[in-house]
């Protein structure tokens, strides 16, 4: 195991953070507006989200850099500088963590598909290399490649991340197939584990998806397939419309109960994705604390 993870996990499971986008919207981010651009335009508000998670008990927080690769940014046509956004994202989270939490820098998918030839391998490699370098130079504790649905793109991102020398967590989305236990491209947890271990990930896992219940068996299957630390961040279920407002069905208490099942299924790092808030993290922290 990577020494960073050995020391982090020595006291038991580690609580990570929850969703950022929805928290930023509470602070005024407009629907459809690129959240990462706020790293430069509204660093205080981004820092506010990071601080809320640290206060809620997150021992690992992420950075607001999920979409800060050149390809995802290009869609917005705003001429944003990926290097500056990524560096600012790490700076903001490090300042909020202030030594109380570790900072894992977030790298999300390009949003383009290799198979449909919307993007080439070389373009992906260049975009991820640029992002990972910029993140690494700003001094995070680790890199996190997350919300991936295509193993090919994931391998390219992982190669770029490993080149920085930082430990790398790789997390994919399992939401497809009849049992909702495969990636969009059809890979099973077992196939993902084998491929990512071989590609040199330091920890692997699952995030987003269709809620915490579905990720308990996925986590157990990943556990059977690797001895690497497991990173699990489910969302708060499928969003539903209620009187024109978007709501998530799962409550913090239900999510916390699910987090104990995740722990039993072998998870090491536990947090939340879309729809989760600092309140969820507080509940998860309380639920997992007795285990320490």
């Amino acid at each position: 195991m990577h020494p960073l993870f050995t020391s982090l996990l020595a006291q038991g499971p580690v609580v990570t953070d929850g969703a950022w986008g929805t928290e930023l919207q509470k602070l005024g981010l407009r629907p459809g507006e690129h959240p990462d651009l706020w790293n430069l335009s509204h660093p205080d508000r981004v820092g506010e989200v990071a601080s809320r998670y640290v206060e809620a008990g997150s021992a690992v927080i992420l950075t607001n850099t999920f979409r800060s690769n050149r390809i995802a940014l290009a869609a917005h046509g705003e001429g944003a500088d990926p290097a500056a956004l990524n560096a600012a994202g790490v700076r903001i989270s490090r300042k909020a963590a202030a030594g109380r939490a570790r900072v894992f820098a977030s790298v999300g998918p390009s949003g383009k598909m290799l198979m449909s030839e919307e993007v080439t391998e070389a373009e992906l490699a260049a975009a991820f290399a640029e992002q990972c370098r910029a993140l690494a130079e700003a001094g995070p504790d680790a890199l996190l490649i997350e919300t991936m649905s295509d193993l090919e793109e994931t391998r390219i991102a992982l190669r770029a991340a490993r080149a920085t020398g930082l430990p790398v967590v790789v997390s994919m989305v399992f939401d497809s197939g009849k049992e909702r236990d495969r990636t969009m491209m059809g890979s099973t947890p077992e196939q993902v584990a084998v491929a990512l271990v071989e590609a040199g990930a330091d920890a692997i896992g699952a995030n987003c998806g269709l809620g915490i219940e579905g990720y308990i068996p996925v986590c157990a299957r990943l556990r059977k397939s690797t001895s690497l630390p497991l990173w699990i961040k489910p969302n708060a279920g499928m969003p539903e419309m209620e009187e024109g407002r978007i709501t998530y069905r799962t409550t913090p208490a239900e999510f916390a109960a699910g987090s104990r099942d995740l722990l039993k299924a072998g998870a090491d790092f536990i947090g939340g994705c879309c729809g989760t808030t600092p309140e969820f993290i507080r509940a998860v922290s309380a639920a997992l604390h007795p285990v320490h």
């Binding site: 459809g32 949003g111 969009m184 059809g186 419309m241």
Partner: protein, 211 residues
């Protein structure tokens, strides 16, 4: 005829090169283009859909099969048009305003194209006005809306309202899809249908246009 069976296999296995070559050979040998579509290609795509539903095929297999189907259709369509045959339907597709995600939309577009629809792709961040103008100009029979974000799915409602205002609502069917979208939401905004995946979207499109 062995060649027909092979075109079936070429599409089923997503071999665009073979599909194109076999189509050329068959047409040169005097095969009826409409019969090729009806008796071989559509059954092949139906089998692709069945395998997807059965968890034997996933998105990559869908994509390459649709691509093989398209390669073959590109040779056949001019012949059908020359005989005055219309496409199965004309679809205006796009990701709604404020949303820049296009993987799901592209998949649905590819599958519809593979099923013989004429697809007019408006791209991402498409305003309600743009959807309506394109539907009017292209004489579309179907409008397909995609959204990945809970924060942008509201734009679907705006398209429905603009369709009514413009008097176009009666001319087109509307189908919607995307991660946060549900049948319940489709009912709420008065869309004609919802599909959870690209394969089911084809069946839905056919159903809506047959209605």
């Amino acid at each position: 005829m062995p060649t027909i069976q092979t075109l079936y296999d070429a599409i089923l296995n997503g071999n665009a090169k073979a599909a194109k070559e076999i189509t050329q050979t068959s047409l040169a040998a005097g095969a009826n283009p409409q019969a090729l579509v009806d008796d071989t290609m559509i059954p092949a795509m139906n089998e692709v859909g069945r395998r997807y539903e059965a968890n034997e095929y996933f998105v990559p297999e869908l994509l390459i099969a649709a691509r093989a189907m398209k390669a073959s259709l590109e040779l056949i369509r001019p012949l059908l048009s020359a005989r005055g045959a219309e496409p199965v339907g004309r679809v205006v597709i796009g990701t709604v305003q404020g949303d820049l995600h296009d993987i799901g939309k592209n998949l649905v577009g590819a599958m519809l194209e593979g099923a013989g629809f004429e697809v007019i792709d408006l791209g991402v961040d498409v305003s309600p006005e743009k959807f309506i103008n394109a539907a009017r100009e292209k004489k579309a029979t179907l409008v397909a809306l995609s959204a990945l974000l809970t924060t942008t799915m509201h734009s679907m409602k705006a398209v429905m309202e603009k369709l009514k205002e413009s008097g176009m609502r009666g001319n087109v069917k509307v189908m919607i899809g995307g991660a946060p979208v549900t049948q319940k939401y489709a009912d709420e905004i008065g869309a004609d249908g919802y599909s959870s995946n690209a394969n089911a979207a084809v069946a839905l499109a056919r159903k809506l246009l047959a209605a």
